[in-house]
Amino acid sequence: MDNTLFWKPNYPKIKSLFSEQLKPMIGYYSKIEGKAIDQELKQIIAQDIAHAMNLSGTHEDRNPDFSNDRFYNSGDFRVMQHSYSLLLSTQSSLKTIEDLLDMDKEREKDGLPKKIRIGNLVNAKKDGNKVIVVPTTTEDKLVHDPTYGLGLAGTATGGAGDGEIGEVIGEVPVNLGEHGFGPGDAESGSHDIESKTYELGQMLSKKFNLPNVNEKRMKRAIIREKHDLTDINKGSGQILDKKATLKEIVKRNIGIGRLKDPKNINPLDLIVDPKSKIYKILSKETDYLAAATVFLVRDYSGSMGGTPSQTICTQHLFIYSWLKYQYEKLATPRFILHDTEAIEVPDFHTYYNKSAAGGTNVSSSFKKVNEIVEKEGLARDYNIYVFYGGDGDDWTKTGEDSINELEKMVKYSSRIGLTVLRHGMGFLESAPNETSLEGYIKSSGLLEKYSNILKMDAFNLNEATEERLIAGIKKLVSEEKLKVTN
C-alpha cells in the first residue's frame, strides 16, 4: 500500500488530458494547413502543438534535470504552490487483518518464520464473563529469561499485607509447555464468543488453507429467504438492465423497419418505446442451507491443569470457528467436560475455565454425547461433528466402553476427531511414547474400519505451537483414507 504522506501531482492524468486536447488540435492544424493563413500564425500554432505534445509525456521527459528523486521536491511544490498536503491519519493507513495475514504469508516465501498468531484468548477480569480472540505478534529480541528456561510459572515478586511468614498465598500448576495460549483466569460467567468466531474461521481458513467441508448433507431444510435482483420486469422497476433494454429496442425498431443497416446503427435514430425498458427487480429467493452441531469434548481432570487445557481449548475454538465459517454461521456448539463423569456446560467460557481434580474416564464423555444425540434427536436434523481433546490418560487400558460408545457414534457422525496431547505427568518427566487412549483406539481397528469418519492425532505438549494445532486440525478433517497395513 502506498503510504505517501503528501499529495503527489498526478502526472499520468495530465498526460491523458492533453492527448484528448491534442487530437482536435492536430486535426485542426491539418485542416488549416492547406489554407492561406499568416505564416506567423502557423508558427504559433506549430509551437503550441509542440508544447502540448511535450506536456503529454511525464515531467521527467520534459525536463530530465527535474528528477523525482530529490528529497525536498514535494516540499518545494507544496510551499510554492500553496497546495495542502493530505496527511494520512494513522487510522486510514491502518492495514486490515487480512492484509497483515497476506504479508505474513509472504514471509514464508522469503524463508522467514511467520509472526502473526491468531489464537490468543483473552479473559476479561472485571466482569469475568467474556472471552475474546485477538491476533498477536511478538518482537523477538535478545532478552533475559526470568524463568531460566525451565518453564517455571511466574517469577518471585514482592507483595504487601498481613500474613505469617511461611503462609501460602497462591498456587499455580507447573507450566510444562513453552507455548502458552493466553491466560486462564477462573471467573464464573455465562457469555460466549459467538461474534468473533465467524471472522476467526474466515481468517483461519485463509491463513492456514483449511479444506472445505465436502459433504454437507441437507438434513433439515433450513430455509433462508433473501431478496435478490434476479427477476426482470418490463416497463417499470428498480434498476435498468441496459443490455437487455438495448436489445429490446433494437428488436422493436427492426420490427417497424427503422433499422436499415445493422452495421451502422445510429442510436439517436432509434425510437424508444417505454415498454421496451427492462428492469431488474428485487424478489424473494429461498436458499436451502445445512446446519451442523459440533460437540466439543474435553478432559478437565487434574492431569490437565494449566497449559494442556489451554492448548486443547484453543484448538477446539479454532475447529468450531472454522466449522461456523463453513456452515455460514449455522453451527451450534455443545460443550462437554469430563473427568470420571461427564457434564454438559452451557458456554465456552465455562468450558475453558472449569477444572476438576479427579481421575479420568474417557468413555463417560462419549456416552454423554450419544445420550444427548439420542434424546434430542439431533442426528435427524443436523450434521454432527464430535471433537475430543485430552492427554490420553485413561483409567482403563483396554477401553471397551469407549470403543462401544464410539461404534454407536460413527453411525450418525459426519466426523469424529480425537486429539491426544501427550505430556509428562510429573515435574521434568518426559512425555510417554503412547498413551492409554491411543493404545486401545489403535488396537480396536476402528481407525481403519471407519477411516472416513474417525480420525486421531497425537503430539507432545512441548511442540504445541499454533502451527502444530492447525496441522492437527487439518489431519482431523482431511478426506484421506487410512492406509490399511497388515
Binding site: 503510504n3 494513522t90 523477538d140 514482592g158
Partner: protein, 562 residues
C-alpha cells in the same frame, strides 16, 4: 483529537504557576489534547508520539487493543510525552476536577523529564525528529519497496534493546574537570612506557624534571605544561604527531560502538552500494530506542514524583471542593501496594518516607553514629531540608538508585511488605507462592530483579571477521530467552551478510535434573512434599553455549562450563 479550550488552558497555566512557586522547573510551553479512547489505542504503539514511523506490528497492536477494549473498556487517564513542547493527552471521559488533578500530575512528569540527568540526550524536540525520520522511511519505502524496508526495520528492532545508552550518556555529562590533560597524561602513561619503553629510574628522572619545571613556574599549571611540552618536543620531535594520531584512533575506537553502530559501519552487506540506504533505517531505529531508554529506567521514580506532586498541590486547590471523597478513593486506589506484584505508583510512599527522614535529619553522619534504638526513634532535628533532598533525587536518580539507596527496614515494616518465595509441591505438581520474609534486603533484591535490564551483549572483536559476526553475552545470572534467539539471529545474519555466532550461558539441564532429584529425596527424608525453588535456582550450574546462524538455520553446541 483536539486541543483543550481556552478556559481549560487558563486553568493549566494557573496550575503551572503554582507548581513553579513550589520549585518545579520546566519550559514555558506545553500542549494539551483531549483524545477519545480510540485515539488512545492508536497512540499507544507509537508510545504517544503521533509522528513515529509506521510499522505493521503497530497495526496488530491496535487491532488487538481494540478487541480487548470491546471486552473490557479501560482508559489511561493521561499520557504525557517528552517532547519540546511537552505534549499531554487527556481522555475525553474525564471529569473536570480529575483533569485538574491530572494537570498537576503531568506538570510533575514534565519537570522530571526536563531535569533528570538520565534524560540528558532528549533535550531536543523528538516529535520533529520523528517526523523527519518518518518521511525518510516513507521515501525509502517508495524507492525500495515496503516489504524490504519493513524487513530492515524488523531486523534492526531485534537488536535495539542492546544500544549503548550509557556510552552515549557519558559523553554528555562527563564533568570537564575530570578530563585529563591529554598531552601530559599521554606522555607519561603511553608514550614513555609503551612507545619508548622507558621505565624504572629513567622514568623517575622524567617525573623529577617535570616537578622542577613546575617549581620554576611557581606552580602555574598552564605555564608548566607549555614549558614542559617544549622540552619534550626538543627531545622527541615525533611526539606531537604520535599524540595526535593516538587521539584520533581513540576517538574512532570501535570498541565503543554498540552492535547496531558496528553493523552499520562495518557490515560487508550494508556497505555495498545498493544497500547503503539501510544505514539510515538502522540509525533511525537506534535513535528511537536511545530516546525511550531513560523513560524505561526511571519509570518508577517518575510516577512516584508525579503522584507526590499531584497529592501535594491538588489538596490545596480550590477545585478539590466537593470531590474530596472521590479524590481520596481514586488516589489511594492507585497508590497502594498490591498483595502480590509491583505497582510503580505505590512508591510515592517511599518518596514521603525519604522526605520525612530528611526532615528529621536521618541522612546525616551524626545520626548514623547513634546506636541506641530509642534515641534513633526520637531523633528529630527539624532540618527543613526534606524538599531539597527530593529535588536532588529528582535530578540525579533513576529506578535502581532510588530503590537501592532508600528502601530500608523501616519502610518495609511501615507498609507491611514481604518478599514472596516459591515452592514446588511435587506430589500435586503445583507451584506455591508463600510469604518468604519481611527482610528489607530480600524485598529490595526482589524488586531490583524485576527492573528493566537488557542483557549485555557485545561484539567479540578478535573473533569477528568479514564472514562471521561474533557476539558474546556477558552472563549476569539469567540466561537468554531461547525462543527469541532464532528470529533475532536470522535478522542479524541478513544485516551482516555472513554467519553470526552468539555465545551465551544456559542452564545445565542434566545437572538441574540431578539437583531436583536430590532435593526431592532430601524432602522425602524429612517427610516434606515441597522443594524450595529459590534454593534450587541458586544452585544451578550453567554451560557456555555457542549458537551459530548460517543460511537461516540455527545450530547450537555446548562449549563447556561457564
Amino acid at each position: 483529537m483536539e486541543l483543550i479550550n481556552q478556559r481549560t488552558k487558563g486553568i493549566m497555566e494557573r496550575c503551572k504557576a503554582i507548581a513553579r512557586g513550589q520549585g518545579l522547573q520546566f519550559d514555558e510551553n506545553t500542549l494539551e489534547y483531549i483524545v477519545t479512547s480510540r485515539d488512545m489505542i492508536k497512540l499507544s504503539p507509537k508510545i504517544g508520539i503521533p509522528t513515529l514511523y509506521d510499522y505493521w506490528v503497530d497495526d496488530i497492536t491496535v487491532i488487538q487493543d481494540t478487541g480487548i477494549y470491546k471486552l473490557q473498556p479501560h482508559n489511561p487517564f493521561e499520557t504525557v510525552v517528552n517532547t519540546r513542547p511537552a505534549i499531554s493527552y487527556y481522555s475525553d471521559n474525564n471529569q473536570d476536577w480529575i483533569n485538574v488533578m491530572l494537570f498537576y500530575h503531568v506538570i510533575a512528569h514534565v519537570d522530571f523529564f526536563q531535569n533528570n540527568d538520565y534524560f540528558g540526550m532528549t533535550k531536543k524536540d523528538f516529535k520533529g525528529k520523528a517526523l523527519a525520520d518518518k518521511k525518510i522511511i516513507e521515501k525509502l519505502r517508495e524507492e525500495h519497496g515496503t516489504k524490504q524496508v519493513d524487513y530492515i526495520i524488523e531486523f534492526s528492532r531485534g537488536l535495539d534493546n542492546l544500544v549503548g545508552y550509557s556510552t552515549e550518556l557519558e559523553k554528555i555529562n562527563f564533568p570537564h574537570s575530570l578530563k585529563p590533560h591529554s598531552k601530559l597524561d599521554f606522555y607519561f602513561d603511553v608514550f614513555l612506557p609503551i612507545h619508548k619503553k622507558i621505565s624504572g629510574p629513567e622514568f623517575q628522572k622524567e617525573i623529577e624534571a617535570f616537578n622542577r619545571y613546575r617549581e620554576q613556574c611557581n606552580g602555574d599549571e598552564g605555564k608548566t605544561e607549555a614549558v614542559f611540552l617544549e622540552a619534550i618536543l626538543q627531545k622527541y620531535p615525533e611526539f606531537l604527531e604520535i599524540s595526535i594520531k593516538e587521539k584520533a584512533k581513540e576517538e574512532k575506537n570501535k570498541e565503543k560502538l554498540d552492535i547496531m553502530q558496528y553493523i552499520a559501519e562495518y557490515s560487508p552487506f550494508i556497505n555495498k552500494k545498493e544497500n547503503i540506504w539501510m544505514k539510515s533505517v538502522i540509525e533511525i531505529v537506534r535513535d528511537t530506542s536511545l530516546y525511550f531508554r531513560p523513560q524505561i529506567i526511571s519509570n518508577i521514580l517518575n510516577e512516584s514524583w508525579a503522584c507526590y506532586w499531584h497529592q501535594e498541590l491538588f489538596i490545596n486547590d480550590k477545585r478539590l471542593k466537593t470531590h474530596e471523597t472521590a479524590f481520596s478513593k481514586l488516589d489511594s486506589g492507585t497508590t497502594t501496594f498490591p498483595k502480590v506484584g509491583l505497582n510503580p505508583y505505590a512508591f510515592v510512599e517511599l518518596l514521603r518516607h525519604i522526605e520525612e527522614k530528611a526532615e528529621k535529619g536521618h541522612f546525616t553522619y551524626e545520626f548514623m553514629k547513634i546506636k541506641n534504638v530509642e534515641e534513633r526513634k526520637g531523633y528529630d532535628k527539624k532540618t527543613g531540608r526534606g524538599r531539597e533532598v527530593l529535588f536532588f533525587i529528582r535530578k540525579h536518580y533513576n529506578n535502581f538508585d532510588f530503590i537501592n539507596d532508600f528502601l530500608d527496614q523501616e519502610f518495609v515494616d511501615k507498609h507491611n511488605l514481604y518478599a514472596v518465595g516459591r515452592r514446588l509441591n511435587f506430589s500435586t505438581n503445583k507451584i506455591q507462592f508463600y510469604i518468604k520474609s519481611r527482610d528489607a534486603l530480600e524485598y529490595k533484591q526482589m524488586i531490583i530483579d524485576q527492573l528493566y535490564h537488557p542483557p549485555e551483549v557485545k561484539i567479540d572483536f578478535p573473533k569477528t571477521s568479514e564472514n562471521t559476526l561474533y557476539i558474546a553475552h556477558k552472563f549476569e545470572g539469567k540466561p537468554l530467552l531461547r525462543k527469541f534467539i532464532n528470529m533475532t539471529m536470522i535478522g542479524t545474519e541478513y544485516l551482516w551478510g555472513g554467519n553470526v555466532k552468539l555465545e551465551t550461558s544456559e542452564v545445565d539441564m542434566d545437572n538441574f535434573k540431578d539437583l531436583i532429584k536430590k532435593k526431592k529425596d532430601e524432602a522425602l527424608a524429612k517427610t516434606k512434599q515441597t522443594i524450595d525453588l529459590e534454593e534450587v535456582l541458586s544452585e544451578l550450574k550453567f554451560n557456555r553455549v555457542l549458537y551459530t546462524m548460517e543460511n537461516k538455520k540455527l545450530s547450537r553446541e555446548v562449549m563447556g562450563v561457564s
